[in-house]
Symmetry: C2
Amino acid sequence: MARVTILGAGDMGTALATPLAHNGHDVRLWGTKRDGAIVAALRDGLEHPRLKVNLPAGVHVFPANEAATALRDAEVVVVAVTSDAVRLVLRELAPLLSEPRAVITVAKGFAGGEDGAAIQLLPDTIAEFTDAPVIAVGGPSKANEVARGLPTAVAFGSDDRRALALAVDAFRTPHYRIAPTDDVVGLEIAAAMKNAYAIALGVCDGLERQTGLPHHNLRAALFPQAVSEMGLLAEAMGGRAETAHGLAGAGDLLVTITSGRNRLLGERIGSGEHPRDAASALAGGGTTIEGFAAAGFGHRLYRQAVAKGVLEEASLPLLDGLWRVLHHDADPARVLWDAVDSDAAATPVTAAT
Amino acid sequence: MARVTILGAGDMGTALATPLAHNGHDVRLWGTKRDGAIVAALRDGLEHPRLKVNLPAGVHVFPANEAATALRDAEVVVVAVTSDAVRLVLRELAPLLSEPRAVITVAKGFAGGEDGAAIQLLPDTIAEFTDAPVIAVGGPSKANEVARGLPTAVAFGSDDRRALALAVDAFRTPHYRIAPTDDVVGLEIAAAMKNAYAIALGVCDGLERQTGLPHHNLRAALFPQAVSEMGLLAEAMGGRAETAHGLAGAGDLLVTITSGRNRLLGERIGSGEHPRDAASALAGGGTTIEGFAAAGFGHRLYRQAVAKGVLEEASLPLLDGLWRVLHHDADPARVLWDAVDSDAAATPVTAAT
């Protein structure tokens, strides 16, 4: 049994209390200031307002101003705030961290870059605030299913084998399986970029809405292109392409194109709405759409990799096209279809007469 | 301009008249005896009864008893009958074939095996009846979208580069793109097996119907497992795994789990129906469910490959589990979940303390 503190009482933070409580840990769930209503409901023994599930018995819930109590002697810390809040929250809480044996982050994506600084993967951001080994999480994981103990398989990634084993051991249950990997970079690239690619595939749903005609063939042709591009970007960053073909890439992309705000942003763009308007309409409560931000960061990484000669020019046509749709008014239908063309051209064997 | 004869006036045969007519070919569409009502409707200038589209202008339609006229001097022949009818139809028509420069097959799957003979890929079956080079087709390609000229990207495969180039040239339009490949085996394995794996993923939809709880995480975890297994089986047969990760594998699997009888068979099994009852209820008009047959053939190939030492024991747990569900009353939910477990175990890095 370990003392585990989850930072963030949103959907995923709360959901992870289920496998942790199943394993008999001392679980503390801390809510940010924005989680006030959730914390109040949970403390009253009510359902989580969005997940519509009750917390497992024994989980302790702490409001924003009780972070010190929530974190006291925590051996495992779970970062489950939104990716754009990670730096803000950790800056505040870092002094309260005792020396956890592992920090697990379900927040995913990139940080930095706004001020011209280097783009960071979130585990590196977290490492600025703690010496504890950081474990990244990827894979198809709808919170409402995790919370209900429905079968879920994810990947945990770290280059610290000891901490990775500890984390896997803490979370793994008969209904929550974990594939350990040392490819943190591949895992994080896939986990972040699948949100961007889900926008692109969502555009096809919008084209259907706009034209009254299904665009399933186009959507399906974009899927392997998206996975392939995630793999190439992962490799360019020092990770492995195969990670993009697994749970964290192809698997997570599949759930992400089924529902959620990233897909919806794509659908609105495909329906003819201007990307800026669609993004701000969906960005309720000041949160950004994760895929929108990831497309920008990912595109910068892509351009940097091309400049360094690590990636070939035009090797990520779908990401490049998506970025031009989001920022330069490119025509979405044309851009997506051109990305498929490149896929065809990239096939190893060329017909000759 | 070429003389092109399409054998089979079903959905896909008829749909392919669209790119061919766009390219100005002399297109003849021949219907089998089972296509009688379709041929009658098309000859009366009516819509195709299932596709709900009119034929492009200039396409000639021939009933079953006018095969000789339909095939006279055909330079390109398209085999678009159901996979279990290929042998029957070609046995009858072989004497009528002049010497086509290419035979394209959109029928996919396996043949033979019932009598203990070796399992064949369909291009090999076709090659028994003609000396013409055979081109295999894979990729996400809903016929109703192809017929309407909506964007569709497919893969054409042959080891005859000349015939492949001719076929690509005949079919490629601004809305129908073609990636040529010499990996016929990989293409055919993926094209056939995606129907089997679509049953497995469809089971998750059935579990949702039965329990009232979504099983999106499980379904998404099975997707990369299915693609990976198609790649392993392709390799075992002498093809390339990367083909399974492209349009013909991952791409086609994505549309196949969206709709169609294979997915539906899975859904009924997941809902608690006995596989045999579900399969026979769906097998209207005497046609078998393609994925049901493919699971059987694929499983035999798998066992043969293990016996030969080309594949490791337990390397295709999802296919093996599906086969046990279909033929040996295995519990579908348990089988699928166990297949995900193996995926986790197969991940290269194992956690150690």
